[in-house]
Amino acid sequence: MVQELISGPAFPRPATLRVRFRKTGNLQYISHLDLVRTMTRILLRAKIPVAYSEGFNPIPRLSFAAPLSVGVESEVEVMDVRITHPVDLSLVVDRLNKHLPLEMTVYDAYYAETKPNAIAYVSYLIKIKEAALPKEERRKAMEETLLGKPLTVVKNTKAGRRETDISPMVRSVETAIEGEEYFFRITLFTENASFLNPDYLVRALHEKNNALSGERDREHYTVLRTGFFLADGTPFR
């Protein structure tokens, strides 16, 4: 089985295989660390020729471009795996998907040419469903909150709770009402490879517009990461 996947002799130095995958539905509740562990096992089951680190306790060399917080789904995740041998790219996607649960799908695998620090901004789609039906005035009010300067939220850091102005991270906000939900299409800048958790925007709406303050079993919101972009606006690959 391993032979089919490997398509040539070993690389002089390990190459970087970039795997793009979706993580949606119930999988949004598994943390980044859990994801790393899960992916490691999947790569082993799929017999991908993963390179290991040196030293006493060799671990597979995997990294993720932008960690995803618990509660955020994604259609565009990026995992870089260092591999020892070239692989048949047309088989890798299918092989990985055979070993993956349904809510996680690999849709592309290629040799990386860019580095993750080229990512300049990230796009998200936030959908909010409240107990009451959506109204135009409310939509406008929430859009104003998100575009506000400053936009202060309380962040829990190692140093304790801190009030931070996140407005410099907010690149663009578009809002709409679709069906019974409010849609927020947002792009956020990345800063020194740090990615703002879009959940802070939902929290800002909760604090300033009283969003999601009713009955938890009838309200609902989803946060979906929809794209990574370079500074010139082209999609990251």
Binding site: G25, N26, L27, Y29, L33, R41, L43, R45, R216, D217
Partner: protein
């Protein structure tokens, strides 16, 4: 995937939402149209703990191998989720389908330790199933109990319709077949089904046995109410372990769980016969799997899961007759694939240089040895056949191999124990510290650290000490303080647990049916997760005893008479009472008994038959 989870609004507000989502790789989804028996396998503790249980994994595989049975998993929601479920009227559901547990045909609980009883009852409450067997209507699921605590299920007998005694690989599919057949030919009713189940070997239906008591509170007799069911229930065993079903795929959790690795069960039973140990007795007769079979399975599970550690599971791994062959064969590929081999439950007298060199988990992990008692006199009485020399040799190997810390397990409150035995624990620990400085190849840049961990003895059914009392609580606490004073060396750390927890365990371990109202009161008053320190409330347990007018020390602190009828006499685990009495007598004479490997001691388990390793007929 057709499965429903609690509303997202709720999942975002609880700790570790991954506990509730299901959908794990290798979890089994079946088409409901093809299924005749819906089986809910409940583990009365959190997801992380339940996922590690090997018994559930084995039975999940066995039951799902039957095409018409769909076995799903259910775990206890944590307290925060329970609050949400109660607030929004969300019933307890199974992981694979998301269907409410009350709609299943058979709901089984694996009872691993006595402190899980309140959690099991809480799960029944969350499911909306009446707690008492006699209160369940004609459409209620059959509530089944199994696992080690089923050997004395009397305290919870009123809450269960039927118990599976012994090994379930063959018994549970038989029970499902009976259920399916009776439903198909129209003869099913709860009473008729339970009556038929009671006729299958290994199944105990408590409602079909009446208990009467003497005036002094001891048991007078157990009487079956029908004449076509056995007077005693003999446990089931799998006769040939090599042919026994074993999972080749493990459900892979997403979130971090305990013991998240390949578990390879090597053999059942134990040759040593330590007198306090229930597992060593109830898993007899000793049956081993062949190295060929084990290696094949290990490879297969590795390919199906991608785990990086294999753990060889047994009561005493070095007593497996082919341990060398097995480890050689496994090491031939695990090193290359960067898979760690782990050998838990290593006896002190089998710890060698070779092991330290070859087994990476031994090299890198912490080392634990269990002398159990501080003096040779007491070690002989409990039949833990390990000498001071054995221990010092083992720690010498460890220290020369680079280890600078070691953990020692002991028990206090053992039968025949005197204060000098407690002081002996401190002496032994001190000798281990001094041994460090005599080890020539020790790691000279580090100091030595010896941790002494002492738990309280609990008399367990089906052991030679089943008649013995647990020390009264004040004495247990006094001994803990005494040992604290004996240990003066700063290099020795002393750990002990709340003796009150052990007291409650002892009550439940040797209890009878009169404890049912107490356990019910405890569960209904909100006690749950008793095995978790932050949720154990001794005072509230004592409230429950008072409310039901039951004296707990009748069960924990009373020496039972050798002529007395014991609550668990209704069960036959193979090992005879005569053997246990002989062993108890020897304990009080400080006489040891050799292992089954040296010669058969006639414990009685060979009557169960099977492909055994050491029994002589």
């Amino acid at each position: 995937m057709n499965h429903k989870t609690p509303p997202a609004g709720i999942l975002r507000n609880v700790e570790k939402p991954g506990r509730y989502t299901g959908g794990e790789y290798n979890s089994i989804i079946k088409n409901k149209e093809d299924v005749r028996v819906r089986f809910a396998f409940c583990f009365p503790d959190t997801y992380e703990i339940g996922m590690s249980n090997l018994g559930v994994r084995i039975l999940y595989h066995c039951l799902n191998s039957v095409p018409t049975v769909w076995c799903e998993r259910v775990y206890a929601p944590w307290t925060d989720m329970m609050a949400e479920m109660e607030k929004y009227s969300i019933p307890l559901t199974a992981h694979e389908s998301g269907d409410p547990v009350r709609d299943f045909d058979i709901v089984a609980f694996t009872l691993q330790y006595e402190l899980c009883y309140t959690t099991a009852l809480r799960m029944l409450m969350l499911a909306g199933i009446p707690l008492l067997s006699r209160d369940r209507g004609p459409d209620a699921p059959i509530i089944l109990g199994g696992g080690p605590c089923a050997y004395n299920a009397e305290p919870i007998a009123d809450f269960f319709d039927v118990f599976s005694i012994g090994e379930g690989e063959e018994a549970l599919p038989e029970l499902c077949r009976l259920y399916e057949d009776m439903k198909a030919n129209g003869t099913y009713s709860r009473e008729a089904f339970l009556h038929e189940a009671a006729k299958i070997e290994g199944f105990y239906v408590p409602s079909l046995y009446e208990v009467s008591y003497h005036d002094d509170g001891t048991i007078k007799e157990y009487t079956p109410i029908c004449d076509d069911i056995p007077r005693r229930i003999r446990k089931r065993i799998v006769k040939d372990l090599d042919r026994a079903p074993y999972p080749e795929k493990f459900v892979m959790p997403y979130i971090e769980t305990v013991h998240d690795r390949i578990l390879l069960e090597v053999y059942r039973g134990c040759i040593r016969g330590c007198r306090f140990c229930q597992a060593g007795m109830v898993y007899r007769p000793i049956r081993e799997k062949s190295p060929e079979n084990l290696c094949r399975m290990a490879r297969c599970i590795y390919d199906n899961t991608g785990y990086d550690e294999i753990s060889l599971i047994s009561l005493s791994i070095s007593d497996y007759s082919k341990i060398r062959e097995l480890t050689e064969e496994l090491l031939s590929w695990t090193d290359d694939e960067k898979v760690n081999l782990s050998l838990p439950s290593l006896r002190i007298d089998s710890f060698t240089e070779e092991l330290m060199e070859r087994i990476s988990s031994v090299r890198t992990g912490g080392l634990t040895f269990a002398p159990e008692a501080g003096t040779q006199r007491l070690r002989d009485a409990i039949n833990k056949n390990v000498t001071e020399e054995d221990l010092l040799h083992a720690v010498n190997v460890a220290f020369n191999g680079g280890k600078s810390s070691v953990k020692l397990y002991f028990m206090q409150g053992l039968p025949t124990e005197q204060m000098e035995d407690i002081a002996g624990i401190a002496d032994l620990a001190r000798k281990v510290v001094h041994a460090y400085f005599r080890a020539e190849n020790r790691n000279k840049s580090r100091g030595v650290s010896v941790t002494v961990s002492v738990s309280c003895f609990i008399p367990k059914p089906f052991t030679p000490f089943q008649w013995d009392a647990q020390d009264p609580l004040p004495l247990l606490e006094e001994k803990q303080q005494y040992l604290r004073e004996c240990i003066t060396d700063k290099r020795i750390r002393y750990n002990y647990h709340d003796a009150k927890v052990s007291f409650i365990e002892a009550v439940l371990a040797r209890g009878d049916r009169r404890l049912a109202p107490v356990i019910r009161h405890a569960a209904e008053s909100g006690l749950v997760f008793d095995a978790w320190t932050e949720h154990f409330h001794y005072d509230r347990w004592m409230e429950s005893f008072r409310a039901s007018d039951v004296d707990p020390s009748f069960y924990a602190n009373r020496v039972f008479g050798e002529e007395e009828i014991l609550p668990w006499d209704i069960i036959d685990c193979g090992v005879t009472k005569e053997f246990l009495l002989r062993e108890r007598k020897k304990a009080y004479e400080n006489k040891t008994t050799c292992s089954c490997a040296e010669h058969c001691n006639g414990c009685g388990a060979q009557i169960l038959g099977g492909v055994t390793r050491w029994c002589k007929s």
